[in-house]
């Protein structure tokens, strides 16, 4: 196990989410789930982050923001799409202003389904994200 799997720092961005998934993401930090046990830190700074956790779908106004945040994260990095909207656009998919899931604008490594995604499945998604991060690190090193 390398240092990456012991210290995944997360950047959380809310696209056009209804806030259901965001509340569940924050629930992961509370005493009940306490993801800091695994070294997870909610950084709020793309330049410090390893995992980009996006909730909600992509709309016309946040395409640039998502691409900008993703671009500012130093390699190796992983994107986790949390919730039905982030995966595919969800119930908003056919709305006039919605582009669809996060994978329309940046490459997504892990999809976490659910409306809203449960904290357990979000943690599971992050753990799979860590495995993807580890693979990218190995690829970068070789």
């Amino acid at each position: 196990m390398s240092m990456f799997s012991r210290s995944p720092w997360i950047l959380h961005y809310d696209g056009s989410s209804c806030n259901g998934c965001d509340i569940e993401v924050l629930a992961c930090l509370t005493p009940l789930y306490d993801v800091e046990r695994f070294g997870v830190v909610n950084t709020g700074n793309p330049k410090h982050a390893d995992i980009f956790l996006v909730t909600g779908s992509v709309n016309e106004r946040n395409i640039d923001i998502i691409q900008n945040l993703y671009g500012q994260m130093p390699d190796p990095k992983v994107v986790v799409a949390v919730g039905a909207c982030a995966c595919s656009g969800g119930i908003f998919a056919r709305a006039y202003n919605i582009q669809g899931g996060i994978d329309k604008v940046i490459p997504v490594d892990v999809y976490v389904p659910g409306c809203a995604a449960r904290p357990e499945s979000i943690i599971d998604g992050v753990v799979q994200g860590i495995a993807a991060l580890e693979e990218k690190r190995k690829k970068r090193a070789s």
Partner: protein, 284 residues
């Protein structure tokens, strides 16, 4: 010769001490919030990971400046334990902090720049204390190096009560604890993104972390200096002070810079200035 070895030992062992202290800090903070918290060695994992990440420099001078920050922090401790004049050590300590300000100011991000400005303010707030503390220790013991103060046959601390209390207030700044962590804005409550470190990534952020470990160890050495007759008691005193800092960190919100400057200067002027003045008046 012996003192030079102590200086070298500090350079090697201080990061281990500082990193472990940061680990204990995060665990104790988590317990205060009814959480389990990260493993004890988490700060080492974090730095290990940061060293493997790609480093992005907004301004190419940031790298050398941050390396200077680490080197001068290590040098402060090495000079202190190596037997250099205490006042000189206080000035090198300030210089080390200045490197961080320059590195943060070199990036064009408004968050980083505001962090750098706030760091200058907290430097302005804390530096007079360290000079007065050294002056007080030198006045009481009549000697001016770390080794000589430790060899001084009487306790220094009972004659420096004001400085001991002010130490707790200034250590809040140096250990980057709420309510005085205005320049970094650490993770639990962030209003400046990451303040000083906003534009530092990968290796650069690792430098800042390691320098902070040195900084904690230097503060511990200062506490040992004040409890000169027995270093274990000095260590225990530092432990108690650190526990208080963690408690305050978890129970207060961040102050405005005006309050930081006023309260620190008031404590320095009244407690330290009064203490040193009393020493001169009584000592006459």
């Amino acid at each position: 010769m012996n003192t030079a070895i102590y200086g070298l030992l500090f350079v090697v062992l201080a990061p281990l001490f500082g990193g472990l202290l940061a680990g204990v800090d995060r665990r104790v903070s988590a317990r205060m919030q009814s959480r389990i918290g990260p493993p004890l060695l988490q700060p080492f994992y974090d730095v290990g990971k940061l060293l493997q990440k790609k480093t992005r420099q907004v301004n190419p001078v940031a790298g050398p400046l941050l390396l200077g920050h680490v080197i001068f922090m290590a040098a402060t401790g090495a000079l202190l334990l190596g037997g250099t004049d205490l006042i000189f050590v206080a000035f090198v300590f300030a210089l080390a902090a200045l490197f961080l300000v320059l590195a943060a100011g070199s990036a064009n991000s408004p968050y980083s720049f505001t962090g750098a400005e706030r760091e200058l303010i907290v430097l302005l707030a804390s530096e007079p204390f360290f000079i007065l503390m050294m002056a007080g220790v030198c006045k009481v013991s009549g000697v001016s190096t770390f080794g000589d103060v430790l060899a001084y046959p009487q306790w220094v601390a009972p004659q420096l009560p004001g400085i001991l209390i002010a130490f707790l207030i200034v250590a809040t700044i140096k250990l980057r604890k709420s309510p005085f962590d205005i320049s970094t804005s650490h993770h639990p409550h962030q209003e400046l993104v990451s303040g000083l470190t906003t534009d530092m990534s990968g290796r650069l952020l690792a430098y800042v972390e390691v320098a902070h470990w040195y900084e904690s160890a230097i503060l511990c050495a200062f506490m040992v200096l004040l409890f000169n007759r027995s270093w274990p008691i000095g260590l225990v005193a530092f432990g108690v002070a650190y526990a208080l800092e963690v408690l305050v960190d978890n129970s207060t919100s961040r102050a405005k810079w005006q309050l930081v400057l006023r309260s620190t200067w008031a404590a320095t002027l009244v407690l330290c200035g009064g203490n040193v003045l009393a020493l001169f008046v009584i000592g006459r």
